[in-house]
Amino acid sequence: MERVVFQNVSKRFFLNSGRKLISGHLDDLLHGSHKHSFYALRDISFVVSEGQSLAIVGANGAGKSTLLNVATRLCPPDEGEVAVNGRLSAVLELGAGFHHDLTGAENLRLNASLFGLTRRGTADLFDRIVDFSGVGEFIEQPLRTYSAGMVMRLAFSVAINIDPDILVVDEALAVGDQAFHAKCFDRMLDFRKAGKTMLVVSHSPATLRHMCDRAIWLDHGRIVEHGALDEVLEAYESRSANPA
């Protein structure tokens, strides 16, 4: 089954779009609008099937996060088609959707509901998520008392324990400690064995080697190379070491 399909997807951003004084809008009307835009993604096509796991690498600003945002349907592509089959869960930013004045437990329920879990499902999974996160009795404390690592562990525990078909991770793992990484890698291995799919952005080749089997190398919104993880990583690393 094809979990994520991108077909000639392009995404453009306008610089300064909308934020103008009336005089600016009038100017556009009178002299024709000449908006400055750039392509964050250009003509991207790929397919991720069941059980596959895709790494996305590239320099800052290459379009990696935009690609994940398009895949999660947070922003619609300007051109091309995106198809996503199955329940998707995403950790795009550390503690997105969390509020620092709510307790860990309250944030957990809120986050689970945002990911599409029912009241029943949340109650059933509650203990498992808390246990996996390892935040212990801090779960009843406000989130502002948490360290960055604890916030990430909680967010990640929710995302992975709601049993998604597709897991999207953007760099979020970077703040976890070794022990939690090991736990996550284990879980992700099970996850892939169960035929689930992952899309991962990371700057750490070691992390990617644990998690993914295929990779896309993005540069200025275009695919430079797409193939087996090791080959793509090798090409990317040699280019990064000796920029042309």
């Binding site: 951003f13 947070l74 995403a90 795009l92």
Partner: protein, 253 residues
């Protein structure tokens, strides 16, 4: 697409709003009670001691205007800012976006319940009894909530593109304070303006409340017609505007 538990999300977001607003205040939810009472005291002083009027039991009369107006103003302004304030949520978590303004309005409704409690307490305390026309109360309030929902859906979506929206809302609220018969009676409005006046759903609600609670009569057909037509049209228009604009939220937040 997103296939979650709509009600569960709304409940969680409403609770979040409510808790976040009060958790760090020592008086907590008591502010919800204190605020209209202080307004009532001051305005009663001004409009019975300085600008004298002959409206009997003025505090109840005033609350019938203040409470709907406060609810309207709060829900409108909080709702309009809701998408921008939850930009982190809208940009980073794939959810149906309309839950953000809707939950904002619903959380203001929680305060409204407390305030309606105050209104009814004062009504009874001043010797107006319960009458069977009280059965109209849920209906007129629901229309008001429907109206605010429509307005908030439209304004919050527009606010993403034109941040001026919040100032439009602030100024309009100030204007409305005088155009809604809060501290005066709709009977004092000149004949040629009254029809126009009653097309404003906030005014219609204020008038309906006074008829029900003070005069003990039903709100009346033409008033209910105005209220229902404007509310339902506002909701439909707000929904359409929101649907038309929500695809580009990501680019503008």
């Amino acid at each position: 697409m997103w296939s979650g538990d709509y009600l569960f999300v709304l409940q969680n977001l409403v609770l979040k709003d409510f808790k976040v607003r009060y958790r760090n205040m020592s008086l907590g939810v008591f502010w919800s009670v204190l605020n209209p009472l202080i307004m009532m005291l001051i305005m009663t002083f001004v409009f019975t001691k300085i600008f004298k009027n002959n409206i009997p039991k003025f505090p109840v009369f005033l609350l019938c205007g203040l409470i709907p107006f406060n609810f309207f103003a709060q829900a409108w302004s909080a709702g309009t800012n809701s998408l921008i304030e939850s930009a982190g949520l809208v940009k980073r978590v794939p959810i149906p976006r309309e839950v953000v303004p809707i939950s904002s309005v619903l959380s203001t409704c929680l305060h409204l319940l407390i305030q309606i409690g105050i209104l009814l307490t004062f009504t009874l305390a001043y010797g107006y009894g319960v009458n069977r026309n009280w059965l109209w109360l849920p209906l007129v309030w629901i229309f008001e909530v429907v109206f605010v929902l429509g307005l908030v859906l439209a304004c919050s979506a527009i606010d993403v593109y034109l941040r001026d929206m919040r100032y439009v809302v602030e100024s309009s609220t100030l204007v409305l304070f005088y155009l809604v018969p809060i501290f005066y009676s709709s009977d004092q409005v000149p004949k040629e303006y009254i029809d126009l006046y009653l097309w404003n759903p906030v005014t219609a609600l204020v008038v309906a409340l006074r008829r029900i609670l003070i005069e003990g009569v039903p709100p009346g057909g033409s008033l209910m017609r105005n209220l229902s037509v404007v509310s339902i049209c506002a909701l439909a228009a707000g929904w359409l505007i929101f649907r038309a604009l929500h695809r580009r939220f990501y680019d503008h937040l």
